[in-house]
Assembly symmetry: C2
Homo-oligomer: 509 residues x 2
C-alpha cells in the first residue's frame, strides 16, 4: 500500500474526473497525476533524495495536495507544519525534522525571512502562490512546467511517509512518524466501517491539512477516487459557499467549526443539502451545538471520531444511528475494524466495563514512533499498545467514554496544547513567580487555556501583558484566554501542583 | 491486523449478537469467542506449537469457523483442504504442509483410514460431528468442554495464517501462503470499495470454505461483526431455504451455483428478497444466466469479482451499476483500492489500453509465496508483481477484460484444473500413447475438461474407461467430461502441443 496509489488508479480508471477543485481551478486526475510526476522530477532535480524530508507551511490548496503526493512519488517524506505556530516553533520543526526543502504559499512567504534569520530555513524554498515568486523562492508552477515526469519511486507499506508534529508533554513538540501503511490502513478501516468518507465523495478540506484528521480524509479520497475541494482556511462563509457550490458530500471538522458553521450569520441560507456525512472530533462537542447542527443539516449523517495522530488517527467512531440514543451522548463510539481498544489500570491490567482507566489502542494505523525521540516512543509504545494518555471507560457494549486526559494537555478548538509549553512561556516573564496552566470547559472551544499565576513579591503584570508575552514565544492559540492570580498553588506532598484541585475550583467559581 | 480481532471486537461490542447459525444451532459472539479460546487451549494441550499446521477436511459448518479461529488464536496455521480431492491428493496436501493435526467432520471421518493407510495422516485427528467420535478420533466438543480458555497468542500482520492449496502447472498442487495481513487487508479493501460484504451482513457460506473466495467473506464478516450462516454444501434447495429462513443479506458464489439457484425447481418460490448483495466470480458467467438471475432477484445488487487465491483473493470488482452497461458485459470490473493491476507484454513492459497482455497484480493481499516452492514463487513474484497467468486487456477507463489463460489451466464450476495433472493421469493408462487436455466452453460449468487422446498402436479404450481410470488418481471433477480420439496431436516446431489449435478446432466442431 502506498499513498501514490490513487494517482495510478485515477489515471487508469477515471482520468477525466475532477481530482481537485480550488476556487475556479479544476484539475482532473490525469492532470493531477501529470503535475505530481513532474513536480517529483523537479524535486529530484533539486537534489531531493529518497527519505529526505520536505516541510510544507501553507494554507489548504491543490498545491498542498500535489506537493504531498510529489514528495511521496519521489520517495521522500512530507512534513506538514502547523500554520498557527510561532516562528520559534516552526523553526524547531524544520530543524528537528532536518527538512531539506520547504514549501510556502503567499500567506507564509513573508515568514521565510524570519526563519532564515533563525538559521532554521532549508536552502531550497518552493513557492506555491498566485503571483510571481518572491526573490530567492522557486516557483512551483515553473518547476512543474520545466521538468519531465519521473517514474514513481514506489515507496510504500512500512516505509516512512510523513511526520506530523504534535505538542509534547515536556514542552518540546514531537514528530509523529507515519508510514504509508499506517495512513492507508487507518483510512481503509474507517471507510470499511461504513460510517466515514465513502467512494465517490466530494470531500471538503475545511480543517487544516496539517492536521492528521484532515489527512485521513485526504488519504481516503485518494484511495477511493473522489474529488478534493479546498478552502484556504476555515470560515463559516467560505465553507458554506464551497459546500453549496461544489455539492460537497463529506467533510471533517472540529466541534468549534461545526458550531461556527451552524451559528454564524455568514452561513445562514446557504444550501448545505448535498452534505451526506459530517465527521467531527478532536474535542467534546456541546450537546446544544450538536442538536442545532442536526436541525440545520437534517439530511446529513453525523459521525464522531475519537482520534489521535499517533493512530493515523481514527480509533473509534460514533455512527449516525448512535446519535439518537440518549445514553450514548458524550461517547466517542466503538472501535473500528482491526483497531483494538482496551482500558487498563496503572499496572497495565484490563479493567472491567464501566471502570475508568487509561485508554490503550493498537492497530494498523499505529505510528512508527516519534522522530528522533526513542525515549518518548518507548514511553507510549512499550508493550505494543499506544498509551493514549487519556482516561476513560467502556460500556458493556463497547462504547468508549473519554473521562479525562492523564497527560497534562488541553484541547482547545481541536488543537492540542500541552500545559508545560505554556507554563514555560509564562514563567519566562519576570513578574511570574509560579504558575499552573489548565484547561477549563468552554462553550466555544471545548476547553480554553486557563492560567493560575502567583506573582513575584512586589511585581505586577496584567493578564493582557502576560498573554502578549506568551505570544512572542509560542502560538497565539496556546496563550491563556483567562488568567487568575493566586497567593499560592496547591501542592502535593511531593511538591507537584495539584491540577485536579485547580480544575475543580475553576468549575465551581 | 490479526484474524482473531473479530472475536475480541465481538466480545467488547456485541457479545449477544449471533455469530454463527448452523441449522438449529445459534451461537453468539460471546459463545463463539469462548469456544475458540477453549479449543485453542485444547490444541495447545495436544501439543500444538505456534507455527504448526492444522489441516481441515470438512463441509461448511460452525465448527469449521471455530477451528480456523482456534488455530489462529493458538498461533498456528490452518490448511483448508479441498473436499472434492481424491485420497492421493489429500494425502499430498497433508504431507506437503506437514500438518500435525487434522480436523474431519462426519462426512470425512471415513477417509481417515485410507489416509492412515497412505501414511499421510497426522497422529492427532479431531472429530467435529453430531454423534460420538469414531475410535481413535478426538471429539471437538469434549476438547472444548474440558479445557480452560487460553490467551490469544496474538499472531498477526505479516505472520503466516493459512495455506490454501491450488492446482499446479506441473501437476503438483501448490500451497499458497497467506498472512493475517494479506487476508485482512484484502477483505478491508474489498469492503471499502462499497461493493462487497458490508457491516451487519448476515453472510451465507454457500461456496466451500476451503476456497479463498469464501474465505474472503469469512474474514470480512469477522472484522465487521456480522453473522455467519452455514450450509454444509451447495444445493439449490439448501441455499434457498437458508436465505429465506435466516434473512441472509450477502453471499459469494461461482456462476454454476448462481445458475442452479436460479434454474432449479428446488429453489422456486423461496423468498430470497433479503439478499442485498450477490458476489460471484471464479469463471465467466453466461449472459443469459446473469439475466435470469437479475430477474429472479430484482432487489439484489450483483457484483462480479476477478480473484485469485494468490491475492487473498479479490483484484477487481464489477459493481452493481456496471451490470447495466452493455459494453461492460464480460468485464471483471476495475481494481479495488490499493490493488494495482497492469497489463504487460512478454518483456514485462506496460501495453496501452485495449492491447492484450498478461495481467499482473500487486497489493496488500499478495501471498507470502508458495509453501516450500521457492522456484514456483519466484516464477510468479519475481518483480514484486503477481503474474496471474491470465491474459487480458484494460479499457481506457480501467475495466479489465480477461481474454484467456496463459497458464495451461481450466476453470470448471469454479474449480481450477491444471491440464498437466489430467494429462499425467491419462498418460498412466496403458492404451494412451499421447494426450492433450484443454478447456472448452460449456453452458453449465463455464468450461469443461476435454481430452484429445491418441491411442497406442493396436490398443483400445472407451471414454468411460479412461474417465474411470483418471478418477482413481485425481478428483472426479478433474476427469475429462468429453474425450475425443485423434490420429495425432498438432505439434509446434519445438515439439510442444499446439493447444490453441485444439481449442479452435473444438469450437468449430
Amino acid at each position: 500500500m502506498r499513498l501514490t496509489h490513487g494517482l495510478h488508479r485515477g489515471l487508469q480508471q477515471y482520468p477525466d474526473r475532477p481530482a481537485t477543485i480550488d476556487g475556479e481551478r479544476v484539475r482532473t486526475w490525469r492532470e493531477s497525476a501529470d503535475r505530481v510526476a513532474r513536480l517529483a522530477g523537479g524535486l529530484r532535480w533539486l537534489r531531493l533524495s529518497p527519505g529526505d524530508r520536505v516541510a510544507i507551511l501553507a494554507l489548504n490548496s491543490d498545491a498542498y495536495h500535489e506537493c504531498q503526493l510529489a514528495v511521496a512519488w519521489a520517495g521522500a517524506v512530507f512534513v506538514p507544519v502547523n500554520t498557527r505556530w510561532s516562528v520559534p516553533e516552526i523553526a524547531f520543526a524544520l530543524r528537528d525534522s532536518g527538512a531539506v526543502m520547504l514549501l510556502v504559499d503567499d500567506s507564509f512567504a513573508p515568514s521565510v525571512a524570519a526563519l532564515r534569520a533563525a538559521g532554521a530555513c532549508p536552502e531550497t524554498v518552493l513557492y506555491a502562490g498566485p503571483g510571481p515568486a518572491p526573490a530567492g523562492l522557486m516557483p512551483l508552477d515553473a518547476l512543474i512546467a520545466g521538468t519531465q515526469r519521473m517514474q514513481d519511486a514506489d515507496r510504500g507499506d512500512g516505509e516512512l511517509a510523513a511526520i506530523y508534529y504534535t505538542g509534547g508533554t515536556t514542552g518540546r513538540p514531537k514528530g509523529v512518524m507515519l508510514s504509508h501503511a499506517s495512513l492507508a490502513s487507518s483510512a481503509l478501516t474507517s471507510v470499511a466501517s461504513g460510517a466515514y468518507v465513502q467512494p465517490g465523495a466530494r470531500y471538503l478540506h475545511a480543517a487544516p491539512m496539517f492536521h492528521s484528521a484532515d489527512a485521513s480524509g485526504w488519504v481516503a479520497v485518494n484511495a477511493l477516487g473522489g474529488t478534493h475541494v479546498f478552502v484556504p482556511r476555515f470560515s463559516p462563509a467560505a465553507v458554506a459557499a464551497a459546500i453549496a457550490r461544489h455539492r460537497v458530500t463529506d467533510t471533517i471538522m472540529v466541534p468549534a467549526m461545526v458550531r461556527m458553521l451552524v451559528d454564524s450569520p455568514d452561513a445562514v441560507g446557504a444550501d448545505l443539502s448535498s452534505l451526506q456525512r459530517l465527521i467531527y472530533g478532536g474535542s467534546p462537542i456541546a450537546g446544544a451545538v450538536l442538536r442545532r447542527a442536526m436541525e440545520r443539516l437534517p439530511g446529513t449523517a453525523f459521525i464522531q471520531a475519537y482520534a489521535m495522530t499517533e493512530m493515523s488517527p481514527v480509533m473509534t467512531l460514533l455512527v449516525p444511528a448512535d446519535h439518537h440514543v440518549e445514553r450514548l451522548r458524550g461517547s466517542g463510539g466503538r472501535a473500528v475494524p482491526y483497531v483494538d481498544i482496551r482500558i487498563a489500570d496503572e499496572f497495565g491490567r484490563d479493567v472491567t466495563a464501566g471502570t475508568t482507566g487509561e485508554i490503550l489502542a493498537r492497530g494498523g494505523g499505529q505510528m512508527l514512533g516519534y522522530w528522533n525521540q526513542p525515549g518518548e516512543t518507548q514511553a507510549v509504545l512499550d508493550d505494543g499498545w499506544l498509551h493514549t494518555g487519556d482516561s476513560g471507560y467502556l460500556s458493556d457494549d463497547g462504547y468508549l467514554f473519554v473521562v479525562d486526559r492523564i497527560k497534562d494537555m488541553i484541547i482547545t478548538g481541536g488543537e492540542n496544547v500541552y500545559s508545560a509549553e505554556v507554563e514555560d512561556a509564562l514563567a519566562a516573564h519576570p513578574a511570574v513567580a509560579a504558575c499552573a496552566v489548565i484547561g477549563v470547559p468552554d462553550a466555544d472551544w471545548g476547553e480554553r487555556v486557563h492560567a493560575v499565576v502567583v506573582l513575584a513579591s512586589g511585581a505586577s503584570a496584567s493578564p493582557d501583558e502576560l498573554r502578549a508575552h506568551v505570544k512572542t514565544l509560542i502560538a497565539a492559540y496556546k496563550a491563556p484566554r483567562s488568567v487568575e492570580f493566586a497567593e499560592s498553588l496547591p501542592l502535593s506532598g511531593a511538591g507537584k501542583v495539584l491540577k485536579r484541585q485547580l480544575r475543580e475550583r475553576s468549575r465551581t467559581t
